[in-house]
């Protein structure tokens, strides 16, 4: 029988392997330590994970296993019942409301259904975080919006004036990514970025996620149940099962794992 202290120590040791310090190991951007959360039923139980700067971490699992809850915890839209959450090296559970808003400004979020503001044009959507969080003048805002739209392979002249309702699903997702990276965030969170898209558009979104990591060095946490798409972009995988981490490792290690649940999930 493993005691709670031994369990926590084991997690810490494991997390240390991926932790960053002055010795040259990669810098840790996210760390969840033994996090538990219960609503009407337990959603997360003793979940621990980390993400290093510049890497793409995939969190997979069936629907309702608490994947999106992890993103809400990182954004501090929810607080855990137990455990610790560190973002950019700082424990966020004790942040004040205003400190949490400041922390969120360093994070970009891509929502499952893009969550573009219906009443605003594509330009205004992408410009929104710039207007809120920078003191850019109008000329620089226009320039940055055009740049970000071009980065996600959209023609600024064509889409800037359009309303979200006039865009296809794939275009909405790309505008959502452009908006998420508008202020050059250090961390981008993706909530099911490829759900409901055709295979070609899934490929485009994956290419964009890789491009963001490669060209801008962005740390990404990707939550998805689409494991095939996720494997194409992720450097490490965490598999959630009933609110607990059932597997952590590289995509290759996951494929090679000899566990019936993993094999079932992969198939």
């Amino acid at each position: 029988m493993v005691t709670r202290e031994e369990h926590v120590r084991a997690i810490r040791d494991e997390l240390e392997e991926g932790g960053g310090d002055a010795s040259g190991r990669p810098e840790e951007v996210i760390r969840l330590e033994d996090v538990s959360l219960t609503f009407e039923r337990p959603v997360l139980e003793g979940v621990s994970l980390y993400a290093n700067r510049g890497e793409t971490l995939l969190v997979v699992g069936e629907s309702g296993t608490g994947k999106s809850t992890i993103l809400k915890l990182i954004l501090r839209q929810l607080l855990p019942d137990e455990g610790h959450i560190y973002v950019f090296g700082r424990e966020i559970t004790d942040l004040s409301f205003d400190e949490a808003l400041d922390m969120r400004r360093r994070i970009g979020m891509v929502f499952q259904h893009a969550a573009l503001f219906d009443s605003m044009s594509v330009f205004e959507n992408v410009a929104y975080p710039l207007r809120e969080n920078t003191d850019f003048d109008e000329h620089r805002i226009v320039e940055t919006v055009r740049e970000r739209l071009a980065f996600v392979d959209l023609d600024p002249d064509q889409v800037m004036r359009q309303l979200p309702s006039e865009l296809s699903g794939g275009m909405r997702k790309r505008v959502g990514i452009a908006r998420a990276i508008a202020t050059d965030p250090e961390l981008v969170l993706y909530d099911e970025p490829t759900s409901g898209l055709d295979p070609l558009t899934v490929g485009t979104i994956n290419t964009l996620i890789r491009k963001l990591q490669r060209e801008l060095g962005v740390t990404s946490i990707l939550v998805s149940h689409d494991i095939r798409a996720g494997f194409r972009v992720a450097s490490r995988v965490n598999l959630l099962r009933d609110g607990k981490i059932a597997f952590r490792g590289t995509p290759e290690e996951m494929v090679a794992a000899d566990e019936s649940y993993i094999n079932e999930f992969l198939s």
Partner: protein, 268 residues
Amino acid sequence: MRQVDGWLVGTARGVQRYAVLGGRALRFTFARPFYARDTVIQMDKIGFGSLPIVTLTGLFTGMVLALQSSVELSRFGADVFIGNLVGASMIRELGPVLASLMVASRAGSGIAAEIGSMRVTEQIDALRSFGTDPIKKLVTPRILAALIVMPMLAVVCDAVGIFGGMLVAVFSLGVPADAYLRGVWSTLAESGFVLFVIPLDFVGGLLKPFVFGGIIALTGCYYGLATTGGTEGVGRSTTQAVVTASVLILAVDYFLTQALLAVLPPVG
């Protein structure tokens, strides 16, 4: 018993959340960043957008009031006092209350539906993720806008109602227009004046829609932000917002009238 207990606790929590939301929204009025553009857009939506319905409501209310009261007044040969009756009724009660009920059903439902659909499509979460406080961005501008435009709409409703009453008085009942308008003014003058020139009734007639405006916007925002359950939930929130705002307007009207009578008692 347990159900009653649960209902009471739920209602108390709801009232507490409603009050906290209102308090935070008003506190943000004085905190940066100021969403002045959003406030102006909401003033246009709530104020200018409600103008046709408020005008029609005022017009027909004034007309029917003149018509109904003429039946009783003509029995005593007092048709000439129609202006007094229509003026007092419109400015003291009907203008502010009916305009507010109309705005509650039109703009209050719109606010609940808009914020509710933003909630279920994660747009509120998106605002938070950009470091924006949704209360500051969505609730404060709507409350400020409603506080500013509602008294204006009530004045329009009063004026159009008095005009509607005059149409009926002049063309159906043969009351001279100047006698009708003198009646309106004399009623206002009888109530006394604030700062020597502003009729007391008019002050009450402006204060009420100011409060009702706050109720309409706050109730719409409250139900919008509390929306759950997809598009069905949006519909439910919209209905709840209109019903609650309407009942609150009528209930608060009674207490406001009592308070006004105590603080600013009519002269003579």
